[in-house]
């Protein structure tokens, strides 16, 4: 985070904006104070560095945009980020620092289910503040606390339409499932969601094979799938592993279609798997090839700041969280007075819980009764090295 320098310039920008277009800003409630503080938890280092880095950059882009247009209620936004290092203990320390020391109004993050699950039970006690994860897809987590939100779709919600479409196109009767036994979300998909969906369609699951997240060699699994006569492969895998599996299939001449879950449908899947990705069906919580101008504007900015690479879905989801917070800060009567901190946080919580069809780059945000994201997800198919949304 760039604090005071950008802070100073944004103050100046805010002043100019106020001066020029006071009529426009007059509608939104005026907030008090020097800045509106939003906390952010991102795993910038450690094994989840990719997700944390892209999410952090995305949130910074959103904050810059908001501040360039005069901030929230006339006050610039200050984003306070802490690195969780993909460690639960660090996430726990950071969240109480954000709530108690930095006194933020709301928190965006953390990304990972483990971090989320460690923090959530603490929120009902001392730390009554909203957290809102932009990538955790393990079902059932938000139920742990009324303060716990997730602006993302759980894996079961994402997969159903994708598997339906996949089976409709390829008419497969026998599949092998390969999933990550170490990753909670992938295992949930591979051991629970996918078998149930296949069963519902009368598809036979020949075998479920597993691997561990840090494995790089999938030859044994692919050979086995081939020898069993799989007509299709269901993946409970993140995109890196999914891409490596697709590549290995190509290498061994197992040319059957692939379907993958929440974590697999990132841009990186096509990038790494190359031609081996063709024809695969994936689900995702954010479709970056969406032609909508706001999506493309965001993609352009993040690619420029992220070594020329598109982010996984956590990035756009995190970007949307900042805007949904802006909406709630303005719509729910938040004052931003130090004395009102507790009631402000409660107001934000209420607003967020009732969020319906809020427009974002990752799709419309609707919070269901468990404070998880709801709504439709894209059905991605890889056609000529690009994702195409088959839902439309």
């Amino acid at each position: 985070m760039k604090l005071s320098r950008s802070f100073a310039s944004s103050l100046a920008a805010a002043a100019v904006a106020l001066f020029m277009s006071s009529a426009h800003d007059a509608e939104a409630a005026k907030l008090e104070g020097r800045s509106v503080k939003i906390g952010c938890l991102a795993s910038v280092t450690g094994k989840g560095a990719e997700w944390g880095q892209t999410a952090k950059i995305s949130m910074e882009i959103a904050v810059e945009e908001i501040n360039a247009k005069g901030g929230i209620g006339g006050v610039p936004v200050e984003l306070i980020c802490y690195d969780t290092q993909t460690l639960e203990a660090e996430a726990l320390k950071a969240v109480s620092r954000l709530v108690e020391r930095d006194r933020v109004l709301a928190i965006s993050g953390p990304c990972f289910s483990g971090e989320f699950e460690t923090i959530a039970p603490q929120l009902d006690g001392q730390l009554k503040t909203v957290i809102n994860s932009y990538c955790s897809a393990k079902p059932g987590l938000s139920a742990m606390s009324r303060w716990a939100f997730r602006n993302t779709l759980t894996s079961d919600k994402q997969l159903k339409p994708v598997v339906d479409a996949w089976l409709k196109e390829y008419k497969i009767k026998k599949v092998v499932i390969i999933y990550d036994a170490e990753d909670a979300v992938s295992k949930g998909e591979g051991a629970g969601v996918l078998p149930a969906l296949f069963k519902a369609h009368g598809v036979e699951v020949l075998e479920s094979l597993t691997y561990r997240t840090k494995d790089t060699d999938y030859s044994a699994q692919v050979t086995k799938a081939k020898s069993l006569g799989a007509e299709g492969i269901g993946l409970g895998a993140c995109y890196q592993n999914a891409a490596a599996i697709a590549k290995e299939m190509q290498k061994q001449g197992l040319n059957v279609p692939v379907v993958g879950g929440a974590c697999a449908g990132a841009p990186g899947f096509i990038e790494i798997a190359g031609k081996a990705a063709e024809g695969a069906y994936m689900s995702t919580a954010a479709f970056l090839d969406d032609p909508r101008p706001e999506v493309q504007a965001y993609v352009k900015k993040i690619v420029a700041k992220n070594n020329g690479k598109q982010p996984p879905y956590g990035g756009p989801r995190a970007y949307d969280i900042i805007y949904s917070y802006k909406h709630c800060f303005e719509a729910s009567g938040v004052t931003n007075k130090p004395a009102d901190l507790a009631s402000d946080r409660e107001k934000i919580r209420g607003c967020l819980a009732g969020l319906k069809k809020f427009p974002g780059v990752a799709g419309e945000i609707t919070m269901d009764e468990n404070r998880d994201g709801a709504g439709s997800s894209a059905i991605l198919k890889v056609v000529n090295g690009k994702y195409v949304n088959m839902a439309k």
Binding site: A8, T45, E88, L92, K93, S96, P121, Q126, A184, G188
Partner: protein
């Protein structure tokens, strides 16, 4: 008991630093006899899982579960330590590392403790800080006594020359086993405390890097004196906080000043330097480790520096 005094953040900070400190002592005790373990995270995992099973599945109170967790880790420690007696140095390092990996594979494939979904919703213990303080006090007392006891001296002699110690009638086998088992038990306590504070853990929570971190606490703090592990854990936990504090002080500089030379240059430099919320922080950490090993390979605190500092180290009667 500190509710009025400390905010939750400080509590959290102290708790994790305290757990690190206990873990550092779990490494220090076998190290005192010359045994270097890279598996302390594995023993923490055993304590954590054993105690969490007791509190969550059987409703046993935390205090009892804590003790059982420590004992369970200690027993496994002795079971590992016994065959490990024959090997030392890099072999022992790798053996303990392999053990710790096996623990994590077991945690991953054992559905009873959650498997890949992790061990969820462990009951929260509101008095973790108090437990941590008591355990550290007991440990410090124990090590202070050990330091000037015959047993402590025997451990030092084993560390310095195992054969000579054995020939002098020191029961090397039992003492090494005792140190390894007790060390594992202490690690088990640390793990149990962690589990009931974080309330969630999975097979990756207690990983190799945690074992490495524990080793680093002791080596950086100083492995030749019992103050070293505590000092190392405190210093390495405090540095990031200190840097954050420095950055907050930097914000006290009026915004207007930062637009003028040379304040802006200094400000930008310090700001960039202290912006440690990214990989730079870990790079700096690595550089510090190397520099430490070049210029102060015995750690920050050594027996000599303690003697100079005159920290409480009771004078012997004969001296």
């Amino acid at each position: 008991m500190f509710d009025g005094l400390l905010d939750g953040y400080t509590r959290s900070l102290l708790i994790f630093a305290g757990i690190h400190m206990i873990a550092a002592y779990s490494f220090y005790l076998p190290y005192k006899t010359g045994q270097v373990s890279l598996g302390q995270a594995g023993f923490m995992a055993i304590g954590a899982y054993a105690s969490a099973i007791l509190t969550q599945k059987f409703g046993i109170p935390f205090a009892a579960a804590l003790i059982v967790g420590g004992i369970a880790a200690g027993i496994i420690g002795i079971a590992i330590g016994f065959p490990a007696l024959r090997i030392k140095g890099i072999y022992l390092l790798l053996l303990t590392l392999g053990f710790s990996e096996i623990v994590s594979v077991v945690a991953l494939s054992w559905e009873y403790v959650g498997g890949a979904q992790g061990f969820r919703q462990i009951s929260f213990n509101p008095f973790t800080l108090e437990y941590v303080i008591v355990i550290i006090a007991v440990l410090l007392f124990f090590f202070a006594r050990l330091e000037r006891s015959s047993l402590g001296r025997a451990m030092d002699s084993i560390h310095q020359d195992e054969t000579a110690a054995e020939v002098m009638g020191i029961d090397v086998v039992r003492i090494k086993l005792l140190a390894f088992g007790l060390g594992a038990g202490i690690a088990g306590l640390a793990g149990a405390l962690y589990a009931h504070h974080a309330t969630f853990m999975d097979s990756t929570t207690f990983n190799i890097m945690l074992s490495v971190e524990i080793l680093v606490f002791v080596v950086v703090g100083g492995g030749s004196t019992y103050w070293g592990p505590a000092f190392g854990a405190v210093v390495l936990n405090a540095i990031p906080e200190f840097l954050r504090a420095l950055r907050e002080w930097l914000e006290l500089i009026p915004v207007a000043w930062t637009n003028f030379y040379p304040v802006n240059r200094v400000y930008d430099f310090l700001h960039g330097f202290l912006d440690f919320e990214n990989a730079k922080r870990l790079i700096a950490y690595g550089v510090i480790l190397i520099l430490m090993m070049i210029f102060r390979p015995d750690g920050l605190l050594t027996r000599d520096s303690l003697r100079r500092l005159r920290l409480p180290r009771w004078k012997s009667r004969h001296a």
